[in-house]
């Protein structure tokens, strides 16, 4: 968690504003330039009436003929959201209108509002409205990263539940054991996870991140509040059990929204660097996990998330700056080797308690982070060159 949010990864709302897209659902404004395009959503299909229609003011007339609540998305080739409509109940209709430029898009229906949805490609035609050229490699990288982020978020919920169940059961040992692992998915995708400005302070704030006038007893929620309860206060009472419920709920909210984050190749690259910044400012100092001392788990997860971004951007970056890519390969390997010193089993996330990591070893870790983060800060330039 960071005190000041500087992420270049912004939430979908900003993206919509920037790309001059208006996504709204109205009752009966079904008039496009070429008449409404209808979308018939069922539990197992998503029928779009036209595969090709004019760009500009587009209207989608959606009808949910399935048995589940659904949502309909219009997506860029890299999975960025152009516009979307949630909570379309069984048997109901909705209209989606948006200004959309010429290009290729995907329309997806998500019965039950989960998963990647049932998808099909459509082409919007028209002169003078060409979308910005982006290489297929970049689109592929962004799409794959978006899937990664969603998968990380999806996988987090059950792990968090193991943790929160233990808290609710009053089982201190089980809760302590499940704590660090429940955070891995969040830590791997931290720049994206944090981009939802209202969720981050609920789930990942530390006590010193509270504002003047906020009462730790009342206003402090999330992982670190429970961390303190487990390792410092050593008690799991009614309040903690309620905090476990709140954490489940807030993270479920996050999982639902994470797919809407605006992601671009440069935000991926700089997001990777930001993950190392997280390590440099919070983990390497031992501030993040000051009670549990599980900082090295977060550390490893941050590095893994950064490495994922880098790996996905490699095809583009290699063309533009092969030397940088070689250096990053080397420094990622070096830092991972260094981290492996602190766990006996390389398949597990059981790391040495950070309390037991001495000043000279912390310095070595910090040097390793600097050695990786400095060239990593040049990745964005190599991607957009």
């Amino acid at each position: 968690m960071r005190a000041v949010r500087l992420s270049v990864v912004t939430a979908a709302a900003t993206a919509a504003a920037l790309t001059a897209v208006t996504g709204c659902a109205e009752k009966s404004d079904a008039k496009g330039a070429d008449g409404a395009v209808t979308v018939i959503a069922k539990d197992d299909s998503c029928e779009v009436s036209k595969k090709e229609f004019p760009a500009g003011h587009v209207t989608l007339a959606v009808e949910n003929r399935g048995s589940k609540v659904t949502e309909v998305y219009v997506l860029h080739p890299d999975d960025r959201i152009v516009t979307e409509r949630e909570n379309i109940g069984p048997g109901t209709k909705a209209t989606i209108t948006a200004e959309i430029k010429a290009g290729t898009y995907t329309i997806a229906c998500k019965p039950g509002m989960v998963g990647d949805g049932i998808r099909q490609q459509v082409t919007l035609t028209g002169a003078g409205a060409a979308t910005a050229e982006r290489s297929p490699e970049m689109d592929a990288a962004v799409a794959a990263y978006r899937q990664y982020v969603q998968a990380q978020a999806d996988a987090t919920l059950p792990k968090v539940k193991v943790f929160t169940d233990a808290v609710r059961a009053g089982d201190m040992d089980a809760a302590k054991k499940a704590y660090a692992e429940s955070r891995i998915g969040w830590e791997r995708t931290e720049p994206v996870a944090e981009s939802f400005g209202d969720i981050d302070p609920k789930v990942d704030v530390r006590e010193d991140g509270l504002e003047e006038g906020q009462d730790p007893a009342k206003d402090w929620t999330g992982w670190h509040r429970l961390e303190k309860a487990l390792w410092k206060d050593k008690k799991l009472g009614a309040a903690e059990k309620q905090l476990a419920d709140t954490l489940d709920k807030d993270l479920a909210d996050w999982v639902k929204r994470v797919g809407k984050a605006e992601i671009t190749p440069t935000s991926m690259a700089n997001g990777a660097k930001e993950l190392l910044d997280e390590v440099a400012t919070g983990k390497v100092t031992g501030e993040e996990e000051r009670y549990s001392h599980t900082d090295l788990v977060d550390f490893k997860a941050n590095v893994e998330g950064a490495q994922k971004s880098f790996d996905l951007l490699k095809p583009v970056a290699t063309k533009n700056d092969p030397k940088l890519v070689a250096e990053l390969d080397k420094q990622f390997a070096a830092l991972n080797t260094l981290l492996d010193k602190y766990r006996t089993d390389k398949t597990s996330y059981v790391f040495t308690s950070y309390e037991k990591v001495g000043p000279a070893e912390r310095k070595e870790l910090s040097d390793g982070v600097n050695a990786l983060a400095e060239p990593l800060s040049k990745l964005a330039a190599a991607v957009v060159k």
Partner: protein, 419 residues
């Protein structure tokens, strides 16, 4: 050489403002390796920081040794993290090019602005708009660089010894040693800090900062016409320091040459050896010490800085008139078989320690052609008997071989060592 001797600089005397080299007057460049500066003039204190002149980077010797002492210091020691010799060599080349630019007042690489919006700029930018401020960057190689990692074992000079344990030393390993060092001196602290920060940044992955020290208020002068600045005890010290223009004394005591630059030390021809010591001063107890005792401890009077029984600070001291444990008597060349060093010390204050005491002292920098005949004998006698020891403690220590100067655009720091 006495301070009364005028230098033939456009008819001005060294008691007035003197411009060297970079200010348009080439003087003593052969000896000083491109020393250029505006120095303190006369007995007043001229605002040298405003001159902003650039000190030439290239020369027979590295700038920053015989160069007139600037007002500010940022000194950094680095550990080499890479085990790849070629990578280390490339870093030294990259550093040399960056140092050439920064000492000339230019930005590093592609500069601090105007580049890609998505990427951090090459230069950190805090020195934009500031003058070169007589920035000098001086590199050194520590004994640990010759431990075999880079195939340099056979090139370790005999003079690059491990310093012995001196009486009273309380050295913190975290403030001692280092494979490399860079001394950044400038009249503007921001310029000195910018230089070290940018070199560290270029070095990430290849080297890591082991420790660094900021300094202010130079405590010694390499321009003997000027008044010797005072240390934090309020005393003048090192008044007989070697001047940047004293070719003979520099050759005799500072620059490595002749038989000292043979065999494993051949690459050191034109170089020097640097001892860096972080000396913590217990200023609170010193301040409670009676004036007479303070003066006895130094062997000088506080007002003028004159040796015991003399009138002026530069008067030849009569050592026998001083107490046997006085600082000047013990440090004087006559007490140490003629051992003479070139001092470039700076005061430091790193705020206060946890007990509310000023975390302050002297960051002592001494250049000499051989520490075995320079710093070691002097500090051995001081550490054993100096009355000042009650008020000071040596808490950090490092020794570096300072290679000769970079001779031109194709040359680089350490070429003679690595080629």
């Amino acid at each position: 050489m006495s301070e009364e001797q005028d230098l033939p600089v456009r008819g001005t005397s060294r008691r007035t403002v003197i411009g060297w080299g970079g200010a348009g007057l080439a003087l003593g460049a052969a000896a000083a390796g491109g020393a250029a500066a505006l120095a303190r003039g006369g007995d007043g204190i001229a605002p040298v920081a405003d001159s902003g002149a650039a000190v030439p980077f290239h020369g027979a010797h590295q700038a920053g040794i015989a160069t007139a002492v600037q007002d500010r210091l940022h000194f950094a020691a680095f550990d080499v993290k890479t085990t790849d010799r070629a990578e280390l060599v490339q870093l030294l080349k990259d550093w040399t090019r960056a140092a050439e630019r920064m000492t000339a007042g230019a930005e590093v690489g592609d500069g601090a602005y105007g580049g890609l919006a998505e990427a951090p700029p090459d230069d950190t930018g805090e020195a934009l708009g500031l003058k070169p401020s007589r920035l000098t960057l001086t590199i050194g190689f520590g004994p640990t660089l010759f431990d075999g990692r880079f195939g340099l074992k056979d090139k370790r000079p005999g003079a690059l010894v491990e310093l012995p344990k001196f009486p009273g030393d309380n050295l913190d390993p975290a403030r001692s040693g280092g494979d490399l060092c860079v001394q950044a001196c400038a009249d503007d602290p921001q310029v000195a800090v910018h230089a070290i920060r940018n070199l560290a940044r270029i070095g990430f992955g290849k080297v890591a900062v082991r420790w660094s020290q900021l300094g202010f208020g130079k405590t010694s002068s390499t321009t003997p016409d000027a008044q010797t600045p005072r240390n934090l005890f309020g005393f003048k010290d090192g008044t007989r320091n070697i001047a940047g223009t004293e070719t003979e004394r520099l050759a005799k005591h500072v620059w490595v040459s002749g038989k000292d630059a043979e065999g494993p030390a051949a690459w050191m021809d034109g170089g020097s050896y640097l001892v860096a010591r972080r000396i913590r001063m217990n200023v609170e107890t010193w301040d409670r010490t009676p004036l007479g005792e303070q003066e006895d401890i130094f062997g000088r009077d506080k007002r003028e800085g004159a040796p015991v029984g003399k009138a002026k600070e530069h008067d030849e001291p009569f050592l026998k008139a001083m107490k046997p444990d006085s600082h000047v008597r013990l440090a004087h060349p006559d007490t140490n078989a003629g051992a003479t060093i070139l001092r470039r010390g700076y005061s430091f204050t790193d705020g206060t320690d946890g007990l509310g005491r000023l975390e302050a002292g002297l960051f002592f920098l001494a250049y000499q052609k051989d520490v075995r005949t320079g710093f070691i004998p002097v500090q051995t006698s001081l550490g054993r008997a100096d009355a000042l020891n009650e008020y000071i403690q040596h808490v950090g220590s490092a020794l570096f071989a300072i290679p000769p100067g970079v001779r031109g655009k194709d040359d680089w720091w350490g070429r003679a060592l690595f080629s």
